[in-house]
């Protein structure tokens, strides 16, 4: 495939992402994506042969990017707080609608495609693992209380997923997101009393 084809593929993925964000997964048709891309019906099939293929391509990439961001941050020797915070902040932006999310589409997709669930698990495990690493790092630095970081990795990862799915529908205000994150992370903090919501913001700056 030439460079131009690669670009076109990229363009289609980008447009398709917008469609998935807007309509979830199950209701998206090839026609929808065709319209969004402003190409011909047959043209899309030159690059992808189903919504499923498009979706999986997008999903795998996003999962990879998300965990890579964490690894990258660790490499740069930022404080554990800062890293955890950035990670969660990215979610926050999505939750607040500043940056749209495919969370729904993801859920619809894996509901419909039972045989692909291993991909989903892989993504979740990757996320949990990345968070575990941050926590280990933070405990070592005496930033966090010592806890079972395997369990807490999963806990935070799962909480973030729940938040991602609940918030868009609920349309909670930003403060409420901070509130929830505060409750989640409190047990990790060495001196929780000293922190005030939205403490995440304070820490960041």
């Amino acid at each position: 495939m030439g460079k131009k084809a690669e670009q076109k593929k990229e363009y289609i993925l980008e447009k398709a992402r917008e469609v998935f964000i807007k309509k979830g997964y199950a209701n998206v048709t090839m026609k929808d994506i065709v319209s969004a891309c402003d190409i011909s019906r047959g043209g899309l099939y030159l690059y992808f042969s189903s919504t499923k293929e498009i979706f999986l391509t997008l999903f795998r990439r996003e999962a990879r990017e998300r965990t890579e961001a964490v690894e990258m941050a660790m490499w740069e020797e930022m404080t554990a707080w800062r890293i955890l915070n950035d990670t969660i902040s990215q979610y926050k932006e999505e939750l607040l609608g500043f940056k749209p999310t495919m969370a729904y589409a993801v859920y619809e997709f894996f509901l419909e495609n039972e045989d692909e669930r291993v991909v989903r698990q892989w993504q979740f495990d990757g996320m949990a693992e990345a968070i575990r690493e941050i926590l280990d790092y933070g405990i070592e630095n005496e930033e966090f209380n010592p806890v079972d970081t395997n369990q807490w990795g999963r806990h935070i990862a799962m909480f973030l997923e729940g938040l991602a799915l609940t918030m868009p529908v609920m349309q909670f205000p930003p403060e409420r997101i901070d509130e929830q994150i505060y409750l989640l992370l409190q047990p990790l903090m060495r001196k929780p009393k000293a922190l005030k919501a939205p403490y995440i913001m304070e820490q960041t700056v």
Copy 2:
């Protein structure tokens, strides 16, 4: 509407529920429900005119029942622990697949029907409120540490939703669910150290 018609409607809802559990919302067609009910195609339209109408009827009822269960328990003067535990246990059963759940269908539905999100919010608020009441009750009895029960009501409600959506796809073992609930509730416990996972079970008995 006669009594017989009422029964038929009830029957249809029951069967439709099974379909939603199995296929989510977006992929369910009137034809699916017709098949599940073993009723004529036109016949279904005498009672409901769309999957949306059927779904909303079911959803409103379930939301009501769930909060009512909590209220009922409070009325019976059970311990806060017992009530919270029963509530969470019901989720656990669903999560472990012993009792099927419409969680996915719910998410799909509200994704597709933006204008109905207020209903979803009402349901979530009802759940959070019910949990808040349990917490207030437990704090009063000195079963729980004093916390902001409004925040914690939402926190637990949201966590349960996240769990409900994550677990079915992940196929985690029961211990992991206990582990997660433990991490969630730990800050509420007066003597967390004394509790071992699966502490929920221990408390129950």
Copy 3:
């Protein structure tokens, strides 16, 4: 399925037959049949779900009818000549276009559907077997020379198929068909010299 549905199915088969006669098999679309039947696109799918299904239904029936006709004639104790002649005459009518034939469609179908060839074989064997019975009967009556009737059953059956496929395209005149049948059957005749083409006709009367 009610009686009316049965009639409709019959009607569709009848119309579809005309389409297959006219266009063969491979080029026939569900849309063609829909047009021929003057029903809606979706309507056809209530009765048949593919051209393949329609074709096989027609084919099986025709094969059955053709061999049944032979059995029936034997039962009525007609002379072997008369029976063989009638059988061949039916082909002749088809060949001359007085009665249209699906021969082409049959060939196209079994080319395309290798896995159904056993059906074709069953039909051919049935035909060969029926002719063998006529020959045995005729030899017993001393109408025919004694020959290996198994071989000759296949020989005549195969010849008729070849004729059916060649004639429509060739547009040979009726005399030429008689000529060919004469050459085919000559070795069976006890006094071939005494017969003149179109001897089949003479025998019939």
Copy 4:
């Protein structure tokens, strides 16, 4: 057209032939041929503008070659038996799958293209004529019984076509082909009793 273009055209015809043998005519698309030739989509159109054009080119050539083979043999003063036998043997090889045949494609083509049937007729007549010449030659040499060689030329030509169309689907064993040819040619033989099947083979050697 330059020499190189001529070669390319030749190459395309060769590959297209393989496709027609495998898939008949009606189901063959320009795309199939493009794939088989490993050529660009637009490239094919520089040489041929439809499957029909390609097919007709192939068909005309094959018809010519087949009759030429007969003429050539006569020229070499082989015995009529030997020539007839070689001609039929070539068919046999095709029938047994040792040498693939376009027979099906031919039938499909002329079904679909009524206006081209004159070409088919021309080919059949050519074949019948070639066989007639062999028979005349054989009668003159007193190899065959005297018969109406016009009729018999058509008879044998038609029989071979029938065989070609029936056998591939039926998957008959080689002996059965010999059996059938024996029944066909028997009336021509001066002393048929002396011949045993597969007599064709015996004669050849």
